[in-house]
């Protein structure tokens, strides 16, 4: 059978993920030191795992409300109110999802009519453009640059706005660059969103992982923005709960209602064990988060120092757990660099081009890996640089 004729055109149009290509190369190889992961190296704190086990012991294995357990939504509302300084009504303005990934999909499908334009800043998380395409939207990327520390400049955003622009997607701190937006830039972006009547879809999954004592500011907290913002957050990164697959969306009631319509027919609800674990995380997880943040901070400083010393310049990322060194001086493409580094030294790092065209010439190195491995990886990378 000619399956190519059976696959929907918009799905067929999505290129293979660059990450998946690279994953297949690395898979099965022994003794690899990987800087290619996108998740914490900590196991979920025990008290959170224990809460999940306890919920199973009590026989809590049912569906929950489509929106999620009310107790969890109340805890989310409290946490978001304190951490992001935006107040959401727990019964009507919070939706618990299967990770932020699902929330992105729901939001885009709830908002877009075919051909509507969605603007996002690049390099960015691998799912943004495909999710827009799958929601029949038109993906419009705005390239960010090393000179701007990969933050989105309002002037650049303004150039991308057209009468068809409907949604602006933001992700600060950013995967893969660790970029954070300054308050001034965030205000400029907010002004543009208001002026052009855009809905802002802001993925703030790394917001607890800010360093140097900087406080995270959400665009949702700026004046006039709550009514046009969908704030997405979850438990994967700060609480080291990637496998629990749990996130949430906070937004005005009509938007949550529209997202919930899709969620109830596709997912029904997020798993109850994960929801119970998340409740424990919000109530008692702060000390563990602080400990992990401190550990990431130490490793970030080490990696940034070593990379700059060996001539791969990189800005000091303000958040997340990635550094994004510039490898253009080597004359290799980021894919060539990553392949040859893997072949020669057994060190895996993801080519920047996997995160969009503007990631070309860079490499994503994740520092959520033990310091011993990080040092060996840096020594090997330095040796590799000497051979090219």
């Amino acid at each position: 059978m000619d399956y190519s004729a059976k696959i929907a055109r918009n799905v067929a149009s999505i290129p293979r993920s660059g990450i998946r290509d690279f994953f297949e190369l690395v898979q099965g190889r022994e003794g690899i030191i990987s800087l290619g992961v996108g998740e914490p190296d900590f196991v979920t704190p025990w008290h959170i795992r224990e809460a999940a086990i306890y919920s199973l012991e009590r026989g809590q294995t049912t569906y929950t409300s489509n929106l999620g357990l009310l107790s969890l939504r109340k805890a989310i509302s409290r946490y978001v109110g304190e951490f992001f300084e935006v107040q959401y009504d727990a019964p009507t303005e919070v939706l618990v999802t299967v990770g932020v990934s699902e929330a992105i999909d729901l939001a885009l499908r709830a908002l877009l009519n075919p051909g509507d334009e969605v603007i996002f800043h690049e390099p960015c998380y691998v799912s943004y453009s495909p999710s827009i395409v799958m929601a029949y939207g038109s993906a419009v990327s705005v390239e960010t640059s090393k000179e701007d520390a990969f933050s989105l400049k309002p002037e650049k955003l303004a150039e991308a706005i057209t009468p068809r622009s409907r949604v602006l997607m933001l992700n600060f701190p950013t995967n893969p660059t660790g970029a954070c937006a300054t308050l001034e830039d965030l205000q400029g972006i907010a002004d543009l969103a208001i002026k052009h009547d855009l809905i802002v879809l802001t993925d703030e999954i790394y917001s607890e992982l800010r360093y140097d004592g900087e406080k995270h500011v959400s665009i949702a907290s700026l004046p006039g923005m709550k009514e046009r913002t969908i704030l997405l957050h979850g438990f994967s990164k700060a609480f080291a709960m990637t496998g629990f697959r749990l996130g949430y969306a906070c937004a005005p009631q009509p938007i949550i209602e529209a997202m919930m319509k899709i969620h109830q027919y596709s997912m029904l609800c997020a798993p109850i064990m994960s929801q119970n674990a998340a409740l424990e995380a919000l109530e008692n997880g702060a000390p563990a988060v602080a400990k992990m943040r401190e550990s990431y901070h130490q490793r970030r400083d080490f990696l940034v120092k070593r990379l700059n010393e060996m001539g791969l310049s990189c800005h000091t990322p303000g958040g997340a757990f990635y550094v994004f060194p510039d490898i253009r001086g080597t004359g290799l493409s980021s894919k060539e660099f990553a392949m040859r580094l893997l072949e020669a030294e057994g060190v895996a790092a993801v080519p920047g081009s996997a995160f969009g065209a503007s990631g070309e010439g860079f490499l994503r190195c994740c520092y959520a890996t033990g310091i011993d491995d990080l040092r060996v990886a840096m020594d090997k990378m330095e040796r590799f640089l000497g051979t090219i």
Partner: protein
């Protein structure tokens, strides 16, 4: 507690080189800080946390609840230190609750520990009573789980 002390407490064998990397300090600064702590007694010593079963160690240890009479002026300190100085005593704590001192004693075999308790510990002046609990199995010690087969595997590359 300083970050440096926390790291050392978790892994005393960590090299100064590694500490310097983690804390953005020089190796010289690290060495100096450690030297001062060692000399002023902030750092008293270092030891390995060993699983006796893996190591083939057949010695026994016991947790002993000791009730004592506090002394005028010195409270529990003088007697507690007298007990703590015995080589057989691995740890000695003053505790709140139904007894006064929690003493951890190690010996080559059951009889050796029993003899220490009956002949040395309980005969000390001021010791009113003892209750000995032999250790049967260790699950966690000094922050380390005695669990050899719980490793999680992350994907080598993920988005």
């Amino acid at each position: 507690m300083s970050q440096l002390l926390q790291l050392l407490r978790r892994k005393a064998r960590i090299s100064n080189h590694e500490l310097a990397d983690l804390l953005s300090m020089t190796e010289g600064e690290i060495a100096e800080k450690i030297r001062v702590w060692e000399s002023e007694g902030t750092i008293l010593g270092y030891h390995a946390v060993i699983d006796p079963e893996s190591a083939g160690d057949t010695s026994v240890s016991a947790f002993i609840e000791v009730k004592v009479t506090p002394e005028r002026g010195g409270g529990f300190d003088r007697l507690a230190m007298r007990i703590a100085r015995f080589d057989q005593v691995v740890s000695c704590y003053l505790a709140s609750g139904g007894y006064d001192l929690m003493v951890v004693v190690e010996g080559g075999d059951l009889r050796e520990v029993a003899r220490f308790v009956s002949e040395r510990l309980s005969t000390l002046e001021g010791v009113l009573s003892t209750a000995t609990h032999f250790r049967l199995k260790t699950y966690k010690e000094n922050g380390f789980l005695f669990d050899h087969d719980s490793a999680t595997e992350r994907l080598a590359v993920s988005p």
